[in-house]
Symmetry: C2
Subunit: 349 residues, 2 copies
Amino acid sequence: MRSVYNTPVKKKRRSTRFSTASVISDVADRAGVSTATVSRVINSPELVADATAERVRRAMDELDYRPNLFAKGLITRSTGVLGVILPDFHGEFYGALLQAADAEARRAGYNLIVASDARPDSADAAQSLPVHFLDGVIAFVPFPNDALVRSIGDLSISAVLIDAQQELEGTDRSSIDNTSCATAAVRHLVERTDADDCFHVGGPETNYDSIDRAEAFRAVLRERGASGSDDRVASGEFSIDWGYRWALDTLTTRTGRPTAVFAGNDDIAVGVLNAARQLGVACPDRLRIVGFDGSRVSAASSPKLSTVQVPLAEIGTKAVQMCVRHIADPTINPSHAVVPTRLAVHASS
Amino acid sequence: MRSVYNTPVKKKRRSTRFSTASVISDVADRAGVSTATVSRVINSPELVADATAERVRRAMDELDYRPNLFAKGLITRSTGVLGVILPDFHGEFYGALLQAADAEARRAGYNLIVASDARPDSADAAQSLPVHFLDGVIAFVPFPNDALVRSIGDLSISAVLIDAQQELEGTDRSSIDNTSCATAAVRHLVERTDADDCFHVGGPETNYDSIDRAEAFRAVLRERGASGSDDRVASGEFSIDWGYRWALDTLTTRTGRPTAVFAGNDDIAVGVLNAARQLGVACPDRLRIVGFDGSRVSAASSPKLSTVQVPLAEIGTKAVQMCVRHIADPTINPSHAVVPTRLAVHASS
DNA sequence: CTGAAAGCGCTTACAG
DNA sequence: CTGAAAGCGCTTACAG
């Protein structure tokens, strides 16, 4: 029945049904109640009489009713969805982390979605990410990425930044402890190898992890009194191929050949290992190698790779916990978790 | 100015501003136009006078206006977001695929999000997934999963099912060609190894890929006249650990020892390789091994693993293309893409 | 080229 | 315990 206040009555101007999916008024009609009551059996069942609720539930079942999350979100400003933003999907690095984050999110009553921040051009990150839908966001920022950090700030939703060097007001952060374990790894190498013959084959030059690991390498070499160490540090990418190319080049052409390599990650280390094998350079006898990450490739390599174990699952779990905590109470002070790593010495060094 | 039709005027009952974010009416006020005009400069700028549009754009800038996607989605039923549903996030298998899918989605003007279908209990999949937000969905269904398939059907959005054996009306499908290459791989093994000494160490028993690969193995053995071959087929999981345990057990305790192994995937193969090395069983001299996937661990192993290359990037790209095509024209007949694989023989066999 | 107004499908304070 | 109604922030047919 149209209210008199809505006169003059215009004719309906477009079909309002987009699909056959049923909406709340269908359920209300079928159960013989108002939409308010249907909404209540969904959101506050304790406010509804049992018999009524039962009738509504049956109607919902029969109509296969699913609330429209657009409409719901427009009111409640909440979707129950947490987002993880990755720089890209490549590699296996994020698998274990996402698995743990997903589990923790479910435990807390949220769903987790993952998106990448890889942008083709200069498009606005916040524009390109379905970030309005999120109750909270966990962003990996392993490279300087002002656009991303700024747009997360603009959104003013609960956020935790992983690996970021930037601070963002009111935002939790989580980083892995690169320095201690990189230091331990390099010390382990110089224990039995002349510091002058130790090399660092790192990842991308602008990557925060790369920077920290390279700096730890340089520091240990300085502490051992090695001569100007910067020509023993190479930057490339986190890939098997880069390690392979570096080793093929360096192991064949250099006069002062490396006898120990601290790799920026396990992939690089495996590349070095492969090249050494191909060149007949025995590992660890003539070349000792340590990787970083504790990834599955490190377990698959032979000799088994010494590496720095990064507790990916723990990082994922913690990040979700921080994010959920912040959603529940936005006033608490943001914290900065530093996740410890552990040097695991195996056969390659 | 309240319309007279809305009398009696009630007092405003709750604060309608949730945050400081500006909304379309703020922009309209500032630019001195109606919200309709603001909406038009966003969605159909050709309908707006240049000078007006310029004023509106300036107002949008100054207010840092971002359209509320809930409100927009409620009207347009479209978000520009494609979703990929994975059984879980574990492993590296999906990395290259997602990377390619993401790139293709951007190319087509969509954003890609990824979610997992791992459900703690019997919760409704469609309930637990933010699937109402999606313009299209690409779902991996490597196991029987009626709940997922049914709820995708109920949603009646453009969908492509990967690896699924189930058909779903009006839905595109994409599968890899397990049979040809599994057959080629096993034939390659029995070429120089007695069929009776060939074993298959497979993945999960209910996994569709596992089933196809095991069946191809059995078929080749039958074709070579091997005696009852089912005791040479073991099912486990797609993990290094399972391959390792199987090999440790089988290589030490069996009287008729395997001299060739067709593994369900590369991880399993690497596990077998590790166990063989540990037991002093030389590969490929005394044990020939072939994996499946062409993953990074296969490249890292030594001897380098023979494997069946699965073109992950191509699968991802194709799936997005199919999905986008179906969104653009829902009436076209669904197709079933079978992605070819390729046997790559390396040092392990 | 522009605006007034209806409508998308929900939720919830208010009033029984 | 339940319903009528306003409102969330947009889009778009209609009428200038």
